[in-house]
């Protein structure tokens, strides 16, 4: 690959903002430095950082648990923990990663930070509710952690009844914790939807919004419509486990399979809560680094909505073996294929965007390519499991574990890292080192692939998930997987290290280091508290690379008196 560091310097040069003044202009980071000014802030950018710190903490915690699981599987029998502990560890790994990291990750951090800027607003529609949702998230998380210390949780993150009603572990506080976290997700989603509809700057039509906004918007719809169902089912589980009503317990007239319908009605769309924002990141990064108009803006925007809606109709594919009727199984199978069609359209559009572009392979773009590779792999295995008969062999085996980790880690986490590098200059005002960035990206990819690819084979071989003991012939694959996991862990620490370093010692970032046309780059790095010193004109689309930087910039300049004609 070509060296890119030099390209960047040149790209950055012609952007003529950043008027060199003697006094350092104030930014959202310097407006108020007390702890109070952070904890009581209503600035969406600061709240985004609060979220960032919390979700990173939970990523770290969930990651430690994952490593513990992988180490346990170095041998077929007991290695470092008992079956009792193992069941608690995998449950917490799942609960933490899904509810405390993946679901809030991109929307609550990058979404929060960028959505108002991308629509030319000063903040979200309900800034105080935005802060409230962070506190609600913390409260739910605290309850979950409390449950984890007092009794643990051993139901799996799926809380299947009637096991969860009988489980000797701390089910009630844990599900209430999830219930509470759900509220935070609903409030965030609501805030985004209202902001998109009411706060767009003059001239910024819906079809002129950056695609990231479309992705976050679609995600928000799911959050608002599906999360209440999760909340409801969690409350019912709490009632069953705490008060013994037997709603899902057949020995008292309840129906355990009903729980699965309710649970997956949320938890399947939840996958799209995780992956749609990731797709939004990809849709931003590719045009910027290819300096190209997306091959089809409409296809990307509408397929996001399409995924959001069909995502609601596919929950039954988690239940092919649960004894649902053949008609149900068939319908859910084919509806699942629709999601694959929409996702594939996105992939084709992204790749086609590269054609005749001017491609600079920097760290964010490298992560996006990793995303593409892993996501396509994950998606295609999704098509395979949706082919109903194959699922009978794969369901609840490591094949499924590998499939959803390809989507959730290979997709969502990789895109999170892409976004982290892409917007790092905007958020912090500093540049990270490109060379280390690329090295870490390659390590993340290698670590990931070595961890999860063998798990497809384990699934083929018929190893069920959530197994403490496994048959010895599966050991080699497990050992490879564990080695990969250690590599992945090390790569993530490396990223933490150099980004932390860049935060303090990194070069000062220009306002638009990538020469992007997307609107967040029209403001300073880091942005002022109210996002823009003067509201720019949104005369050009967010992906207009048909004219040179200077020209594009002139079009975006805040209107001089007299010709505000957009």
């Amino acid at each position: 690959m070509t060296a890119t560091a030099t390209d960047l310097d040149v790209t950055a040069a012609p952007v003529p903002t950043a008027a060199p003044t003697s006094a350092k202009p104030s930014s959202y980071l310097t407006d108020g430095t007390t702890v109070r000014s952070w904890l009581l802030t209503t600035d969406h950018k600061r709240i985004a950082l609060l979220y960032f710190v919390s979700v990173s903490f939970f990523l770290f915690l969930g990651g430690i648990l994952a490593l513990a699981l992988r180490l346990e599987h170095l041998t077929p029998g007991p290695t470092i923990m008992s079956a009792y502990t193992y069941n608690r560890v995998f449950t917490l790994h799942g609960v933490i990663m899904v509810f405390l990291f993946l679901i809030p990750s991109i929307p609550a951090t990058f979404g929060n930070f960028l959505l108002p800027i991308m629509i030319g607003a000063k903040d979200l529609a309900f800034p105080r509710i935005n802060l409230l949702s962070w506190y609600i998230y913390l409260a739910g998380a605290a309850l979950l952690i409390w449950a984890m210390i007092n009794g643990g949780l051993d139901t799996g993150w799926t809380f299947y009844t009637p096991y969860s009603a009988h489980s000797p572990s701390a089910v009630v506080p844990a599900v209430l914790g999830v219930f509470i976290v759900g509220w935070s997700s609903i409030l965030t989603g609501l805030n985004f939807i209202v902001s998109v509809h009411t706060l767009r700057a003059r001239g910024l039509r819906l079809m002129k919004m950056p695609l990231f906004v479309w992705a976050i918007y679609s995600t928000s719809i799911i959050q608002v419509l599906a999360t209440p169902v999760l909340g409801l089912s969690m409350v019912l589980v709490a009632i069953d486990a705490g008060l013994g009503w037997g709603i899902f317990d057949p020995s008292r007239g309840g129906d355990p399979v009903l729980f699965q319908h309710l649970f997956w009605f949320y938890s399947h769309p939840a996958v799209y809560i995780m992956i749609l924002p990731a797709m939004g990141v990809v849709s931003e990064v590719i045009p910027t680094f290819a300096r190209k108009v997306p091959y089809s803006y409409e296809a990307i925007a509408y397929s996001a909505l399409g995924i959001a809606f069909t995502g609601f109709l596919t929950w039954g594919h988690h239940m092919f073996t649960a004894g649902i009727s053949a008609v149900d199984a068939g319908a859910f199978g084919i509806l699942s294929m629709m999601v694959a069609v929409f996702s594939a359209i996105k992939v084709f559009t992204w790749v086609a965007t590269l054609y005749k572009g001017s491609i600079s392979l920097t760290t964010p773009l490298a992560y996006v390519f990793v995303f593409l590779f892993l996501f396509v792999f994950g998606g295609m295995t999704g098509v395979a499991v949706a082919s109903t008969s194959l699922d009978l062999h794969w369901h609840d085996t490591y094949f499924v574990v590998a499939h959803f980790h390809f989507i959730m880690v290979g997709g969502a986490l990789t895109a999170f890292l892409a976004g982290l590098h892409y917007w790092f200059p905007k958020v912090t005002g500093r540049m990270y080192g490109e060379r280390l960035g690329l090295v870490a990206c390659v390590l993340v990819f290698a670590g990931f692939f070595v961890t999860f690819f063998p798990q497809f084979l384990l699934g083929n071989a018929g190893m069920p998930r959530r197994y403490y003991y496994y048959s010895p012939e599966h050991q080699p694959l497990h050992v490879i997987s564990t080695i990969g996991a250690l590599g992945l862990g090390a790569a993530l620490l490396l990223i933490l290290g150099y980004l932390g370093w860049a935060l303090v010692y990194g070069e000062k970032a220009p306002d638009n280091p990538w020469g992007s046309r997307s609107y967040e780059w029209l403001t300073r790095s880091p942005p002022p508290t109210h996002n823009f010193d003067a509201t720019p004109r949104f005369a050009l689309g967010p992906y207009d690379y048909t004219r040179p930087d200077e020209d594009a910039h002139a079009h975006a300049e805040a209107p001089a008196q007299g010709h505000d004609h957009v």
Partner: protein, 341 residues
């Protein structure tokens, strides 16, 4: 499927009648999707090289997809994925629908063991013995939480749910011993809930059947056990077991495997799941012409009593109208297979 491909994909031996077909679909889908994905990646790699940035601040052409191209690609994808689905779903229907000649074995799962009860009254823990070549239908229920019956070598898996019966079937084609695993997480010893299927050659199976060394005292076959339970639990005060007699409840004669007309006009097949549900939740389906007076037995009948009653009712099947073969279209009509309303 050729043995080397089975090995390459790390699949277990193909020991059931459906395994080869399922594996063939597996291999096809994996190959088609991986080859096309690789083509996409190759295109990406080529473009990254071909269109790498040579100068900063260049302008690029505005190339936008033609609607017809987009629609074409979407339709082609849809067609491809639907083709997979059609083949997969047809296989699924075969796997879900036991053939008429299948012999039934009752399976009771509980933390953390499997119990198999055969029609002749014998039962065994964790070991299921079947003859090669015969279709075996499993009528399964759980006594506590949800488990899943999984035999990787047969490529079948079915959740085993408390309070209802679910069914699975297989026809083993290779003699041998294959592990049975529990695939639905069920607590501390989930991964130790193992059993095995012993597939015997028909001659060995016959020998096993009348192995004189096995102690049969104390064994009572399920049917006579069911008859006792029906008397003890006073089912017979409301249900007759002969044809023609009118009582508070419908007669059990010829009930099994017939279509029952429910209040409201729907018809449902009286299979194991329906019979179990009638005992556990009698008001869910009211037989047309009867009052909803039957008490619920959920929680009072244990799984083995339920199995015995179901087997007893099955034994009362007599062709009501011998000579006329009723066509069966189960795949479409059966929704009593544990589907929730």
């Amino acid at each position: 499927m050729p043995a080397w491909l089975v090995k390459l994909l790390f699949l277990p031996v193909e020991a059931s009648s459906i395994a080869a077909e399922v594996d063939a679909l597996h291999a096809t889908i994996i190959t088609v999707t991986m080859v096309s994905s690789l083509a996409v990646f190759a295109a990406t790699g080529w473009m990254v090289l071909r269109f790498r940035r040579r100068a900063p601040n260049v302008t690029t052409p505005h190339i936008v997809a033609k609607r017809s191209h987009e629609a074409g690609i979407a339709l082609a994808l849809l067609f491809l994925f639907c083709a997979f689905w059609v083949v997969g779903f047809r296989q699924y229907l075969t796997i879900e629908q036991p053939p008429d000649d299948a012999r039934t074995v009752f399976v009771t799962a509980r933390q953390w063991m499997w119990k198999f009860s055969y029609a002749d009254g014998r039962s065994a823990e964790d070991v299921l013995v079947v003859p090669r070549g015969a279709a075996i239908k499993l009528a399964m229920t759980s006594r506590d939480v949800i488990h899943a019956f999984y035999v990787p070598a047969f490529r079948i898996k079915q959740d085993v749910v408390p309070g209802r019966y679910t069914t699975a079937w297989f026809r083993a084609e290779k003699a041998g011993t294959y592990p049975i695993l529990c695939a639905e997480y069920c607590g501390t010893d989930h991964s130790a809930m193992r059993g095995e299927v012993r597939v015997l050659e028909p001659v060995d199976y016959a020998r096993w059947l009348d192995d004189p060394s096995r102690d049969r005292s104390g064994e009572q076959d399920l049917v006579s056990r069911g008859r006792d339970v029906a008397v003890r639990r006073a089912c017979v005060t409301c249900h007759s077991v002969g044809a023609g007699t009118t009582t508070t409840g419908p007669s059990w004669a010829g009930l099994y495997d017939s279509y029952v007309e429910l209040r409201g006009g729907t018809r449902v097949l009286a299979d194991e799941a329906y019979l179990t549900r009638s005992m556990m939740d009698p008001n869910a389906d009211i037989v047309s012409g009867y009052q909803p007076v039957m008490p619920t037995y959920a929680g009072t009948l244990d799984a083995s009593e339920t199995a015995a009653l179901v087997e007893y009712i099955e034994s009362l099947r007599e062709p009501r109208d011998p000579g006329v073969a009723l066509p069966k279209v189960r795949a479409v009509e059966t929704s009593s297979d544990g589907g929730t309303p």
